[in-house]
Amino acid sequence: MSSIAFTLLTSLFFSAIATSASAATPTYIQGTLVDSTKAPIAGVTISATGPNNFSGESISDASGKWKIEVPAAAVYQVSINQEQLPSGQALTDPAKAIIKANVISLGFDVTILFPIGPGVEKATDLERSAQLLADGLILALVIALAALGLNLVFGTTGLTNFAHGELLTLGGLLTYYLSAVVGLKVFLAIPLAVALSALIGGYLQDKFLWQPLRRRGTGLIAALIVSIGLAILIRYFFLFIFGGDTRQLPEYAGQAGLALGPVSITPKSIITSSIGLAMLVIATLWLSRSHMGKASRAVADNPALASSSGIEVERVIRAVWILGATLASFAGIMVTVNQGVSFVMGQDLLLLIFAAVTLGGLGTINGALIGSLVIGVSIQLSTLFIPTELKYVGALVILILILLVRPQGILGKKGRIG
């Protein structure tokens, strides 16, 4: 009862303010233009257009502030004149040059942020290519880490795991939780998160779900659909626990990039990529040199034969799940450190991971690596020719085209034709 009264009172209060405000004070869309070092940018024109042929302008003052008065509650399109930005500064995402401002009701101003960063706007195509290539390689590394595990699981058990993306999200969310909520330093949270992911996402997942299903003789298509259900369950569980916002780690969030020739990379990117690359190399070496690794490949090739040769297939599969979860969770951490984590992170990347694995040839390890390289680099380089927002589309189209010509993927084994 009291909660109802409270709600009524507060809404009365606000509506009172609203009615009084709308009568007298003008309403603005406003903002402050600052560059990546938080220094104000002056002299840049911001324009707004709206319904009933409304248009208005404002020029940012010495402290970077600008405001445009609007006559009615509506949705306005606010744009910035990029040409007037000082050299070396540009919108961090040129595709977001027009931002929508939703003035819900008069009396309540709306603040708009135009993220400005060191511009690559005036960069030549060559410089852009170099940067995109670097970005593409890092993306390829993330995908490769995830793809290797996916491929190994497919190779040894035949399962196409649609819940694999959630392993990336798990790594990122655990890191966030351990650092932002529990309070550990990020460089401690990361290995702990990887270990926990390997345990939960690898060991426990196989032990309590997939191994019992294998014992039951569940068919592969049925298992595929089970993995879809699992993905939905886990993803909405993440949403339930962490909410829908993208979370940043408490440290290293706003690092500036180092200029290495034409390419700009943040130190955190360099460090995480190096670790990721090392993990990838160790994993591939493990697969080709170690006893367990070779056994994994044998099982992937021919489980019945491997079993009759004395290889304990179930132990191999368990190891493969743990390895896959370890690599995938670190891939998620790489993305989290650089861009933050949200509950859809894994799902967004999953399609790319599948594209990479399919492109390279399902079940082949080198294929997964090659496929990741092709997908990662082509996604970034394609932005030279197509709008950034469509870069995933480009990669998927490449996938379909290559499969047209080679249905088994680049390195895949040919099935029977006909």
């Binding site: 569940t218 659909i225 259900g229 993905a231 369950l233 399609l351 599948f354 998927l396 249905p407 993927g409």
Partner: protein
């Protein structure tokens, strides 16, 4: 706890617009997956094509609604051909991934800023493109019974929608029990055996893909017309996965099963949501466990869990025949 309200909402949902949309999506999937064994994970793309064809044709090109519907069907046939010709040679797992990719391409293009003049970008298209349909609405009042509640427009959509479903099911029943249907079922089980008997497997798979795709795009028509709006993010992979859930729940490879699956699915979805919402508001479930805003998420968690349980313990769904199971096969 207002059980009357909960029941009214749940029953209305069970035979309401969403059920019709998902039933149509699932009927199409039944043709693809239930009867032919095609792992089409891009069904959402067919609904998108149907919905956008209608919206864009009427709003941007001022075409009559009825012509727009025809355009939608033609477009879905084209999509089926575009999708089928390169992919039907692929193994099942490859087909799944490629069809998801195709569905995502459609969604990303639809929500892109590049094409947002015609396609509406991430906000989609909202407009009175269903006017000619709603002008025919004979219902002046809706339905306001204790157990069912529909606005006049929704009632019209529901009546026409179920009539459409009935016609489509009848045609499907004819097809499935014909020699053509027998071929599909054989292809589902073993393509090489069918080839060795002189049948062009490829052709039949394409026909199945077209048939199921057109049915899916009719689901898109209903989606667009019922809301008079098309939003690209409604046609993501989640739609396809829920359509599969509906199909499997009812029992794949049974003509009537998608209906049963859709009705039960939406009944449960709304029922659980309403129950949880009221339980949380009334305090039966503590706020620290589930907040009022989190009820929607719990719903979907239950969908995921439900799908898993279904596949593990009763893959034939409610009405399927275990012996005829399409889902046991080792790929």
């Amino acid at each position: 706890m207002d059980f009357l309200f909960i029941t009214q909402q749940s029953l209305s949902a069970a035979i309401g617009v969403n059920t019709i949309i998902f039933a149509l999506a699932a009927i199409g999937l039944n043709m693809h997956f239930g009867y032919t064994g095609l792992l089409n994970f891009g069904q959402a793309g067919f609904l998108a094509v149907g919905a956008y064809s209608v919206a864009v044709s009427v709003v941007s090109f001022n075409v009559s609604l009825w012509v727009a519907l025809l355009i939608g069907i033609v477009n879905s046939i084209i999509l089926a051909l575009l999708l089928g010709i390169p992919t039907l040679r692929l193994r099942a797992d490859y087909l799944a991934i490629v069809t998801i990719a195709a569905g995502e391409i459609i969604r990303q293009v639809a929500r892109s800023a590049t094409f947002n003049k015609t396609l509406g970008g991430s906000d989609g298209i909202t407009g009175k493109f269903g006017k000619e349909f709603f002008d025919l609405n004979p219902f002046t009042a809706g339905l306001d019974l204790p157990f069912l509640r529909f606005t006049p427009n929704d009632l019209w959509v529901v009546v026409v929608g179920w009539a459409l479903v009935a016609v489509i099911l009848f045609l499907m029943w004819l097809l499935v029990n014909s020699p053509w249907g027998r071929l599909l079922k054989a292809i589902r089980e073993d393509e090489d055996a069918v080839r060795s008997l002189g049948k062009n497997v490829y052709l039949y798979k394409i026909q199945s893909l077209i048939a199921g795709g057109v049915i899916g795009s009719i689901g898109g028509f209903v989606y667009a017309l019922s809301r008079q709006s098309v939003q690209p993010d409604n046609y993501g992979t989640a739609l396809t996965f829920f359509a599969y859930t509906v199909l499997i729940l009812g029992g794949a490879a049974r003509v009537l099963a998608p209906i049963a699956g859709a009705v039960i699915f939406w009944f449960l979805l709304v029922f659980v949501e309403q129950m949880l919402r009221q339980a949380v508001s009334a305090g039966y479930i503590p706020e620290w466990l589930i907040g009022v805003n989190q009820v929607g998420q719990i719903r979907f968690m239950l969908v995921g869990l439900g799908l898993m349980m279904l596949m593990i313990f009763r893959p034939q769904g409610i009405f399927g025949d275990r012996k005829e199971l399409a889902l046991d096969a080792r790929a």
